[in-house]
């Protein structure tokens, strides 16, 4: 068994298992850690696919920065243990599993018909990656994808605004009582009248 094949068959099950682990772990922190494992496995796959730059980015940015941020929030909000696993929605879980299986089957059919399970990666990727994967990527990025790259800046600005707008405490937070008080005089009456409308105007 060639090395890449071996690596694939080692890490693929781990990634799947860690993904499953993430979605069944009751503790949010554990789940997040499983996700990190998963990300790491995927990063390995990148390496197999001759994408060393993304391998690095995946580990540094994703598994590193992003997941840390998530973990940070989990800790901040103190909701690590909050998730109880009793399901209120009938059939949500079986349906979810069923649909996921169907989805996989569909992808399987499409992939088999589309590229086949024997197609190997063609040679000549080295030529594409001439001067190293990072350099090649850089060239494509700043030549062909110069614009999208700039666009991401807007995305990040919005993210920044989002953080300030949504997460920032209000100068004068609106209390629950205030809301109740405001809601009661008009909307309650409105709701009551609503009922009347229903009765009256559904055509006989």
């Amino acid at each position: 068994m060639p090395l890449d094949n071996l690596v694939f068959w080692v890490f693929a099950p781990i990634s799947v298992a860690s993904a499953i682990g993430m979605i069944v772990m009751r503790n949010a922190v554990h789940a997040a850690l499983f996700l990190v494992v998963n990300f790491f496995c995927i990063a390995v796959m990148y390496l197999l696919l001759d994408a060393p730059f993304l391998f690095a980015v995946q580990i540094i940015v994703y598994a590193g920065a992003i997941m840390v941020l998530v973990l940070f929030v989990i800790m901040l909000l103190g909701v690590a243990r909050g998730d109880d696993l009793r399901e209120r929605l009938i059939a949500q879980r079986p349906l979810a599993v069923l649909l996921a299986l169907a989805f996989v089957a569909e992808i399987f059919v499409a992939v088999r018909a589309g590229i086949g399970f024997s197609t190997k990666a063609p040679d000549g990727f080295d030529a594409v990656n001439e001067g190293g994967n990072t350099q090649a990527l850089g060239e494509v990025l700043f030549r062909d994808y110069f614009l999208p790259f700039e666009i991401t800046s807007i995305l990040l600005i919005i993210a920044a605004i989002a953080a300030t707008v949504l997460a920032q405490r209000r100068a004068r937070p609106i209390t629950q009582a205030e809301i109740e008080q405001r809601r009661s005089p008009s909307t309650d009456r409105g709701a009551a009248v609503d009922e009347q409308i229903e009765v009256r105007e559904v055509p006989r």
């Binding site: 009256r200 105007e201 055509p203 006989r204």
Partner: protein
């Protein structure tokens, strides 16, 4: 270029604009006056149109054609022929009357008048449009102001009635819409590209496969059958008529229903002659059922407006029956009946409205003896009742007789069964009249006033026409007949009975042995 028809159609919009712009600054009386002046002016313009109209010419006249949305082949094409000229005149004639009859309306007068005027434009536009989509546009546009009129100024169950009217009609017209678009889509192969021009589509429709044409016919028919209304699509009508304000009922019965029958003549027969023949029996049977059914249902009504409404179902059945006889007499009778029903039933609703304003009830059981209190009002009512019953010498008779005679020659059963409604009409109308007018006077009705000047002015022209058109229907038929002949020529292949007046001549000349005739 001659812009008379456009002027007729859109003059009421000018009134709408005035009232809208005036806004709250406009006093109610001014709003009323604006509406009245506008509608009268429209009537006068339509009279000018009538003056320019040459009854002897069978085709469309005073045609105005302009590009509107060339991208989809939607044109602004309007024109009149012998059928539509009368319906337009009927409309423009009834509107000032309806406005005048609405004088007692106190609630939201400006809005009311806006709705009335908008309605007039929509209705007149429907009768004049020679572009299928333009027609549909006006046809749909009728719904909105009428909806407001019923829902805004109707009686207790007005909202139910208004929504029902609206949805029912809209559901029917959905099929018309699709069929229109289908024809349009088929017309893209024509020289001028895709178009909604009725004249071009008439050519096109002739070449459609038989089955397609039949489906399209049905789609058109459903829309119009709802509007007419043809049994069993009629149930919106009693509710709408009953709940609508007086002017609403008058216009609904007088004008709006005719859009349906007009549509059948103008579109179903013209576009799909083969399908018209194919479905003639089906439609005729429905019409006969409607005639009898409406009459029977009217027999037992306790609400006078509802009773008149059911009578409309019956009377409109005559129109449809006549149309699908495909004889000159039947179709002409049908068209005549449209105008006549508009006037007669319009008068009935006007009078019922006047009674309602006085007695505040529509329940027959709570009236009675009114003839002793308001002899003139009830006298005119009786006049209208007899016009509606189909008394010879008054207008409805001519149409009814022509329909029966025109149908009988083609199918004896239809003619004979339809005639039964004449008996039933006498029963329900006279019965209701008796309960309203005769018998002892009820205490709460003592001292009610008789017709006042405004009401007399409202009624006089209508009643006069009831008589005039009964005595001298040639006024109408001279213009109707050439247009009808043109339609029949298209529908009925040579050799079929198209003119019952010619039967005898043919038999004698060819020397046919008289056939076995009707087996009794």
């Amino acid at each position: 270029m001659n812009r008379l028809l456009t002027l007729t159609t859109f003059l009421p919009v000018a009134g709408v604009v005035v009232v809208l712009v005036g806004g709250r600054a406009l006093r109610d009386d001014v709003a009323r006056a604006v509406a009245l002046v506008t509608t009268i002016a429209t009537f006068l313009v339509s009279l000018v149109v009538f003056g320019k109209f040459d009854p002897a010419v069978p085709g469309y006249q005073l045609v105005e054609q302009a590009e509107w949305v060339p991208a989809i082949g939607l044109g602004y094409i309007v024109g009149v022929d012998g059928v539509s000229i009368w319906l337009v005149l009927l409309t423009t004639f009834l509107f000032p009357i309806a406005v005048l009859a609405s004088w007692p309306v106190e609630k939201d007068v400006r809005l009311y008048m806006i709705a009335m005027l908008a309605l007039e434009t929509a209705v007149v536009g429907s009768f004049l449009a020679l572009d299928l989509l333009l027609f549909f546009l006006f046809f749909e546009a009728i719904l909105v102001p009428m909806y407001f009129l019923i829902g805004g100024w109707g009686s207790a169950r007005r909202v139910y009635a208004a929504i029902k009217f609206f949805l029912y009609t809209m559901a029917g017209s959905a099929f018309l819409f699709l069929a229109t678009l289908f024809l349009w889509s088929r017309s893209s192969g024509l020289d001028g590209g895709a178009t909604f021009d009725l004249r071009a589509l008439t050519e096109l429709a002739g070449g459609l496969p038989v089955t397609t044409a039949r489906w399209l016919f049905l789609a058109f028919l459903v829309a119009f059958a709802v509007k007419v209304p043809l049994f069993p699509l009629h149930t919106w009508l009693p509710d709408a008529h009953t709940e609508a304000p007086t002017a609403g009922s008058v216009l609904l019965a007088g004008v709006l229903l005719k859009v349906g029958t007009y549509g059948i003549i103008r579109f179903n027969l013209t576009l799909f002659p083969e399908a018209s023949r194919y479905f003639a029996d089906l439609v005729s049977i429905l019409a006969v059922i409607g005639i009898l059914y409406g009459a029977v249902a009217a027999l037992i009504q306790t609400d006078i407006k509802r009773l008149v409404a059911y009578s409309s179902v019956s009377h409109l059945g005559f129109v449809v029956l006549g149309i699908f006889a495909f004889t000159a007499q039947g179709v002409t009778g049908g068209v005549l009946q449209m105008v006549n029903h508009g006037l007669a039933t319009g008068a009935l609703f006007l009078l019922v409205g006047m009674m309602y304003e006085r007695t505040h009830t529509r329940e027959l059981a709570r009236m009675g003896g009114l003839a002793s209190v308001m002899p003139w009002l009830l006298g005119t009512y009786l006049f209208a009742v007899f016009a509606s019953v189909g008394l010879p010498g008054l207008n409805s008779f001519v149409g009814e007789f022509l329909v029966i005679a025109g149908t009988f020659a083609v199918n004896q059963w239809y003619g004979a069964l339809a005639a039964l409604a004449v008996i039933l009409a006498a029963i329900y109308l006279l019965w209701s009249y008796q309960r309203v007018a005769y018998g002892p006077v009820r205490d709460e009705h003592r001292g009610l006033g008789d017709l006042n000047l405004r009401e007399s002015v409202v009624l006089a022209p209508v009643l006069a026409l009831l008589l005039v058109f009964g005595v001298y229907p040639k006024l109408l038929t001279d213009a109707i007949e050439p247009a009808v002949a043109r339609v029949i020529e298209r529908v009925q292949p040579a050799g079929q009975t198209t003119d019952v007046g010619e039967v005898a001549v043919q038999q004698v000349e060819i020397g046919l042995v008289p056939d076995g005739g009707q087996q009794e």
